[in-house]
Amino acid sequence: MEEYQKLSLIDPQRVANLPTPDKLFLFLSCTGSIEYPGTERAVRIVGEKLGIEFIESVDQTCCTGYMLTCNAVNPQLALASTSRNLSIPQEMGLDVGVFCNGCYGYLRELAHLLHSNPAFKEVGDKANQALGREKFHGHTKIYHVQELWFRQLEKLTSLVKRPLTGLKIAAHYGCHYLANKDVAIDDAQYPTFHEEIYKALGATPVVYKERRACCGYSVGRGFTHREETVLPHITNKMLSAATAGVQLMTTTCPGCNTALDREQKTITARGNAVSIPVIDLSQLIAFALGAPVEQLGFKANTTPVLPVLERFIK
């Protein structure tokens, strides 16, 4: 399946413009911390190998994007908490690294709204003022770690300790990264940079029909419309991956990972047996770079991961 390469729409200029920082603020994800803590660990491991030190803050709260997009709070709360959360790295003089597509998309969109609409900016500024914090000026840059990994792909390649030869891996990009058309390093409809990463790790990328289909879980539809739309949608997606012979799938969002990993149990129980382990891209990279497998937290997964990775562990 090398066909996909011919269509590569990766933007080399945008990739080149990405930094190779030695220090970043790590924005913690609620879903990540609870559902798949191994992802956070893996992000730190890969960061360490690339010489990136991640600094976190116990003052950082939930990004509030999920509650906003479920219409369960008013927009002002999400604007104010974005302004407040981003004032923390601003005070430290650091840019932000995010490992959840949700946090990434919400932070960027809300930061954009804050700076394109004076009324919204006032909401944010007033909030920070009331809390005795400095105004958020909007110069802090927000990166998803997946793009920082891609930026240093050559270095990553040179650090591979467990080449994943013969492993058939497929991507789930997740919508809330690709939707950022103005900065995303790849095309929203036909992205290929995750496949490039798999190849660098020695694996075989697999393209499946529903590759670009979303996980169905954002804005809470997994709670309100699970039977009606979400399950039929995820079933289509995972069956199309199974048909293509996918052995492992990666995500870049703990929310997507929850949907695609955990729902396989129900899909199987309803007569469509499917068992494709779903892990975070950072976990995959950390594994290929030789991280001890116990450090990657695969115990948290519903669909067992070790059966496909075992043969690479010496």
Binding site: C30, N74, L79, L113, N117, A127, C175, R221, T229, P232
Partner: protein, 209 residues
């Protein structure tokens, strides 16, 4: 039961969206239908049609939208926005349409399930922290084995500041209003997107328009 009438349409709907600051100028929509073509929800549930929803908003058919079941189906995947030739950020429009619908007392059943997350997030400044002790123990054990803090805990300072945000942004007030507003009964009823009106010749049943 009420039947939809063009005389009820109102430009106020479009104006309200324009002044929300959330959605772009949807008059740029050229009705090309690309959004609907790439929409995963439309693929499963054809009565959900983003192009049609934009048309209804532009026509001012707000009662139809306010009471619609379809508006709650959007996955917010932004496939539509990625493909839209007029650069319309449809998900933001949908976010606002849902608020608009709620302000008319509709859609509560699609929002109610999330209020408990908000209540908990207000206490902990983290969303989704489970309440069940057994599940919490599981998470503690796994996180500790990875060298992470046993639970993701926001500092007291962080929590206090977060709660203050609920106060000063009017969110506490907003939640109170939300909880006190009863769900308004829908007077247009739907069968997969088709509007039903009472059938006079056969009282008690309904027929499609």
């Amino acid at each position: 039961m009420k039947r939809e009438q063009a005389s009820d349409w109102s430009i106020e709907f479009e104006n309200a969206i324009a002044t929300s600051g959330l959605a772009d100028d949807i008059r740029r929509c050229i009705s090309c239908g690309k959004c609907t073509g790439v929409c995963p929800v439309a693929a499963i549930s054809p009565s959900y049609n983003p192009r049609q929803i934009i048309r209804e908003v532009l026509l001012g058919n707000y009662e139809r939208i306010v009471q619609s079941e379809e508006i709650w189906r959007c996955f917010w995947c932004a496939n539509c926005a990625a493909t839209c030739p007029s650069e319309i950020k449809y998900p933001l429009l949908m976010l606002y349409i849902r608020y608009f619908s709620m302000s008319h007392g509709a859609g509560k059943k699609h929002v109610d399930p999330f209020i408990r997350f908000v209540t908990k997030a207000r206490q902990e400044a983290v969303t989704f922290q489970p309440g069940k002790p057994a599940r919490l123990d599981e998470i503690r054990e796994l996180r500790s084995s990875l060298g992470l803090a046993p639970l993701r805990i926001v500092s007291d300072k962080g929590i206090k500041e977060y709660q203050k945000l609920f106060e000063i942004t009017g969110t506490d007030e907003w939640l109170k209003n939300y909880q006190e507003t009863p769900e308004v009964p829908i007077d247009l009823s739907y069968l997969e997107g088709k509007i039903l009106v009472p059938d006079d010749s056969n009282s008690g049943s309904e027929r499609e328009v």
